[in-house]
């Protein structure tokens, strides 16, 4: 089954996600500039900046609080649809476990991500095919659920999640945006990847790489 994730792992993960997002913010802006307003990368990066600041200041002491602090900082800082959606991704991961949970195995990790996906789809109303972050997040979470059911290691499960998220982000190229601000561009969105789906890919890729 491989090793479980502990608080130190999650701290490394959050730092790693922030680093990956900061490194790729220009790329995310470029993706967004074709069908959005070109600020997605900067906006998401600003959200993670404030999450790092908040973590530094409040020093959350367990996995649940760390994830909730990260998400709440993003929600408070970023507007549009991206703030509530990407913030909720983390707050729901944190809310699914209790504050005394000291480690997370693949089954719990899968439950955490499933809860996060469910809440995001309810909040934003997006389904797979709407050309949103859900198109990367949905297959990634489903892949994790499958991995949890067959009981492979967390590391291998995350590797499969990265692949599923990448394929999902690629698939948005052939979709017409019908949710969020990019939906204003309608059919013009065809042929371009969704920026939010790529952000999901970078987040999951960063988690995987931190555990290598």
């Amino acid at each position: 089954m491989g090793k479980n994730l502990v608080f130190e792992d999650f701290k490394k993960i959050i730092i790693g996600i922030n680093k990956t997002i900061q490194e790729n913010k220009i790329l995310l802006c470029k993706l967004d500039s074709v069908i959005g307003d070109g600020d997605h990368g900067m906006t998401i990066a600003k959200g993670f900046d404030s999450a790092m600041e908040k973590i530094e200041k409040t020093q959350p002491g367990n996995i649940s609080d760390l994830l909730k602090t990260t998400g709440n900082a993003i929600i408070m800082t970023i507007g549009g649809v991206a703030g509530p959606i990407f913030g909720t991704l983390f707050t729901e991961l944190g809310k699914t476990i209790s504050s005394d949970a000291e480690s997370v195995d693949i089954k719990v990790l899968s439950l955490m991500f499933s809860a996060s996906l469910t809440k995001i789809m309810k909040l934003g109303g997006a389904k797979p095919g709407d050309k949103t972050m859900v198109d990367a997040f949905y297959p990634a979470v489903k892949s994790l659920e499958d991995s949890a059911a067959i009981g492979i290691s967390i590391k291998e499960a995350l590797n499969r999640m990265v692949e599923a998220a990448r394929a999902g982000a690629d698939s948005t190229k052939d979709m017409i945006s019908s949710k969020g601000k990019s939906s204003y561009s309608g059919e013009r969105s065809l042929g371009y990847e969704d920026a939010g789906a790529n952000t999901v890919y970078f987040i999951i890729k960063a988690i995987y790489e931190e555990l290598e």
Partner: protein, 332 residues
Amino acid sequence: MRKLINIPKDIVNEVMDGLVAANKNLLQRIGDFTIIARKDIPVKNKVAIVTGGGSGHEPLFSEYVGKGMADASANGQIFASPSSGIILEAIKAVEAGEGTLLIYNNYAGDVLNFEMAMEMAQDEGIKVEQVIVNDDVASGPKDKRDNRRGTTATPIVLKIAGAASSTGMNIDLLKAVAQKAIDNSRSLGVSLSSCTLPETGMATFTLEEGKMEFGMGLHGEAGIKKVDVMSADDTTKTILDMLVDDLPFNKGDEVIALINGYGSTTKMEMYIISRKIHLYLAEKGIFIYSTEVGEFCTSQEMAGVSITLVKLDAELKKYYDMPCEAPGFKKF
């Protein structure tokens, strides 16, 4: 793109600072936040009103902050909702012990962020209620008004609610008055050109030369009907046919008629439309109590107009007539 701007990422901040500088006796900015507030907040013995939404629609929202209108506006980046954090700061800044009513337009991002801010404020013990403006008849059928976007009725709703709040009524009564103003409002617009996003210089949509589109959204959302450009009179008639039928507005009703320019439409065109509105409604036996002509809610340099009709009763008329002093709306 031909726009007089500096660094794109500074646009919203610079607009805030310029607006306050030009109205220094009326308005202030709250800290570094993209919040515009009345100079004299918190105003005692009154429910506070917070509005807001994406920037780029000036004079909406911040020019409707002032005496007898909104107490504060929470502003996002261009065409994007403010964060729940900014909205929460606005609520805390204006709160004077009587609670706060949120009045904003029906867009996914705004609903998400305003509702999150409302929950956070309630957790801090502040009484907060909300009404969501959804006057645009093009964005959903009559029986699904929840899907409809908020557009140019917002200044009128803020005018009426602002006046009502200044009488000291409680938050539940105020919410009912604001909701009645929304329920009595219908708007529809027509676009003759696209607009460009100042951050990228890219057009939000393309509209071929010689075409016009009814029901286009404030951010280029697809409309309901694309046709060859029609005369001002025929355009006005097409819009009014839909508006009058939707509420419906009936013979003997009294209305406010608001003609809004989207950004690059001239006052000349707006007055030609005003003329036709008066002829059309007179024929239907609908009485125009007041006509507002100008820019109330723009979409950058988009060409086109929207028409809003608001049906009045004695209560709404009383609040509409009360004095107000906001940069974008003054009544004495």
